[in-house]
Symmetry: C2
């Protein structure tokens, strides 16, 4: 029988889990998952922002290859808001498309975020089932300016955030996580009953601003509303793993937990999480922006209590899943993910670099314990003066810069073992610096020489493409009138 | 039979342990100790500096009561360097003095730090045996200016740092931790053989600058020399616990691991540790300066894998040990420690505040999850401009101040659950602020009303009292000539 996969992709920081030192230690089920499986301490997402990371996970390719980036400005983070015109190109091969050919049933629960126009629908890209939203459910709410985000079941919307899926913005109460949990349990039961292998991608948005939790979790965390949401996610993960065990299929289901970007410190303290000892957060290419909590779980296969320092990436989930399914990755394109099975099952360490991109720019590269910054930037003085701060309470001279600083010819080098917080650049004159930078610069040259950037998908915005009239709206009487098309360059301030 | 005690008092930050989220996760034995015992997440030392914390641990009393503070300046940290005249007053009752009456054999291995003049000798204050040094082994070394610190065995010195107990300052190599480990193992064996209850206080200095490790540990850590020292300590703790188990006395030995102050970030990255997500480090009354790693271990009594949010203090080790020995704490003086046995054995939570003192000033108070700062200060602009930085890479406006800022009438209030990093003071106008501050101010009033400060011991310095001619020096030909006595006010810049 084929091995099934579960991927939990949350929006949490490295430091949000008890097992990673969150001082409230309120994630007993994730801590238990780690105790039963393997903890990755050096695991990365592919972008400091959500949409590009998700596209990277599902394609096994860097956003600069799969098109999830912008060229509207230099080194700008871009994602898929309601007015984005682009999305996942048909030319990209997604993990569920490949698994489908091997007989897998693929389900996404939660936020898709790879484009919301019809051609980008997840069921057109390999998924068989969907319950969730195409975008983040940002404000303003119930305004004329933009429709509330729809929630889909498979091909059609079944309602909208706030209108049909209530979130009390004052209390943070919403029962969506319970809905998404039940959906996961039911799907797993169905697959077990029909003995069909599956890929379940559980990518819910409770910890993304505006943060929410169910009534039974509200007020239960020391950490406030964000902690309530984390506790509910933790509880849900525990219930899903227990369900796999009770159905007797846990030894045949490979499960991975990780996150799509570092905690959004701009939303702290009420809605922002923790990146532990790391520098800055979401939106930046410092460790706080891209190093993620990660746990692999597969009872009977992965030795309990394992810890790995393998440099890993969300893109590896693509390659690892294919390997488990006995499939070959596509050979007609560059795949950035690697197969982690030798790491997970045999304790190997595979030498590979981590590339930290911000939009169209390679900002930094990690090889071994060294990280070289070719560009540094947090955000502009202009944004910063408005109170937008990606590094609250942190300031490292020459590192957390508010102008884009180029270091191409003399990269800033950090040793992440001695200095995980990226506070003490190595002396340019040291032998250690020269040896490490020479090595990393070779990797950069090799990487850039073979790089074929994809067509950028996140350049054009148009109010007309918003979720005015998603399929199914007519049955619900929820179709809205779109304005005239007026495509513009999207504005990406950071 | 009476329960024996082991106290490991190290110089490490909250974030230095794998179980507290250090990203290299290199402390398997301490993590295992936590898995077998109880982890305290909200445990504090009694001062952001070493000597006063140690005096507090052994007396169960705040430094401002037991005399380990200075009045030479406002809110100044003071300790016991070589030229200090004061030390632990005879009027203080130390834990080993009390235990001795109940038949315990008491041993200190490592740094005493409660004064080095003859009247302060640990064997005059209840300890039966000693291997270690009276002070830190600071530089300058082999100079005329000051003698190298002696190492004592019991009443007499057996050599000096650098001269007889080598530390290679270039490589950091020294075998002292191995010496101290062997001494602990031998002492435990001896006590087990004679069936005598014991108190072992293992307070070694490998992670205090200048940091050292044995050859077998040098270069083994991702974290550099500091990490090598941590690994050796971790390994030693593991060996001592295993020894207790192999001798069959682990169920009759209560063991506690903690630290005397937060990691010294001024020594980072080479010799400084990690305070995890907390603000600043040693020398400050922010969480990074005083929240400590803490683990209780007592197989067969403490349920494995326990976690406690009890607000704990090193002073509680005094009261807890007495309780275990069936002794009453002295009733003729104020004891600040509480008996943690109901917490450890029955999972209770005892309501009690934590007082954060810097020298003679009550800087902050924690009650529940709220912490009120009555004074804020990191260090002076003058010191800071010399590169002395207790909060490297961190800067929170109005909080990590470089002038002593008084907030007596409107304390800065933080909620440590939502904001463990002390970055977001609560609004003065909020109901939450008013409720919490009213409660804490009541505690402060009560505390101050009953406070009888001790005679300050750390005011006077004199080159003549340095370790020129410790007892035993003549046998070794290591007596040095002391200069004329010239007592002065000690200078405490921060």
């Amino acid at each position: 029988t084929l091995t099934s996969f579960g991927v939990f992709l949350l929006q949490m920081g490295w430091g949000d889990l008890g097992v990673f030192g969150e001082p409230s230690k309120e994630t007993p089920h994730l801590d238990q998952m780690a105790a039963e499986g393997m903890l990755f301490l050096d695991f990365y997402t592919a972008s400091p922002l959500c949409s590009p990371s998700r596209a990277a996970l599902l394609t096994g390719r860097l956003p600069v290859r799969n098109g999830f980036y912008t060229t509207n400005g230099h080194a700008r983070n871009a994602y898929t808001p309601q007015d984005i015109v682009g999305g996942i190109p048909d030319s990209e091969l997604l993990l569920p498309e490949l698994l489908k050919k091997a007989g897998y049933t693929n389900k996404i629960i939660g936020k898709w975020h790879l484009g919301h126009q019809p051609q980008f629908h997840p069921l057109r890209h390999g998924f068989d089932e969907w319950l969730g939203s195409p975008n983040c459910h940002f404000g303003p709410y119930d305004s004329r300016e933009r429709p509330n985000i729809p929630i889909y079941r498979d091909w059609e919307m079944i309602g909208r955030y706030y209108e049909d899926f209530k979130i009390d913005l004052k209390t943070g109460e919403a029962n969506l996580t319970q809905l998404y949990l039940q959906e996961a349990l039911d799907f797993i039961s169905k697959q077990q009953a029909s003995q069909q292998p599956f890929f379940l991608y559980w990518a819910i948005d409770a910890t993304h601003a505006p943060v929410y939790a169910s009534k039974q979790f509200l007020g239960t965390s020391q950490r406030g509303l964000y902690g309530d949401a984390v506790r509910e996610i933790d509880d849900s993960v525990g219930k899903i793993l227990k369900h796999l065990q009770q159905l007797g299929i846990s030894e045949n289901t490979f499960v991975f937990f990780t996150s799509d970007n570092g905690a959004a410190l701009i939303s702290a303290p009420k809605q922002g999480g923790s990146n532990g000892p790391f520098l800055c957060g979401k939106q930046t290419t410092f460790e706080g922006g891209m190093r993620e909590p990660a746990i692999a779980w597969w009872p009977g296969h992965i030795p309990a209590g394992g810890v790995s320092h393998q440099l890993g990436s969300v893109m590896d989930l693509f390659s690892t899943s294919l390997s488990l399914a006995g499939l070959q990755p596509p050979s007609d394109r560059q795949i950035d993910g690697i197969d982690l099975l030798p790491v997970i099952l045999q304790g190997k360490l595979i030498d590979r670099p981590i590339f930290y991109y911000r939009g169209n720019e390679l900002m930094a590269v990690r090889a071994g314990l060294y990280k070289a910054h070719y560009w540094t930037w947090s955000n502009s003085w202009e944004e910063h003066s408005k109170g937008i701060d990606f590094c609250p309470g942190q300031s490292v001279a020459g590192v957390t810069t508010h102008t884009q600083e180029e270091h191409t010819y003399l990269p800033l080098l950090f040793h992440l073992g001695r200095d995980p917080g990226e506070k003490y650049p190595l002396s340019f004159a040291s032998e250690e610096y020269q040896r490490a930078v020479e090595h990393i610069s070779g990797l950069v040259q090799q990487h850039k020489a073979s790089l074929v950037p994809g067509q950028p998908q996140l350049n054009v915005c148009d109010q007309a493409v918003m979720n005015w009239s998603p399929p199914g709206c007519e049955k619900l009487g929820k179709c809205l009138k779109a304005p005239e098309s007026d495509p513009k360059k999207c504005s990406w301030p950071h």
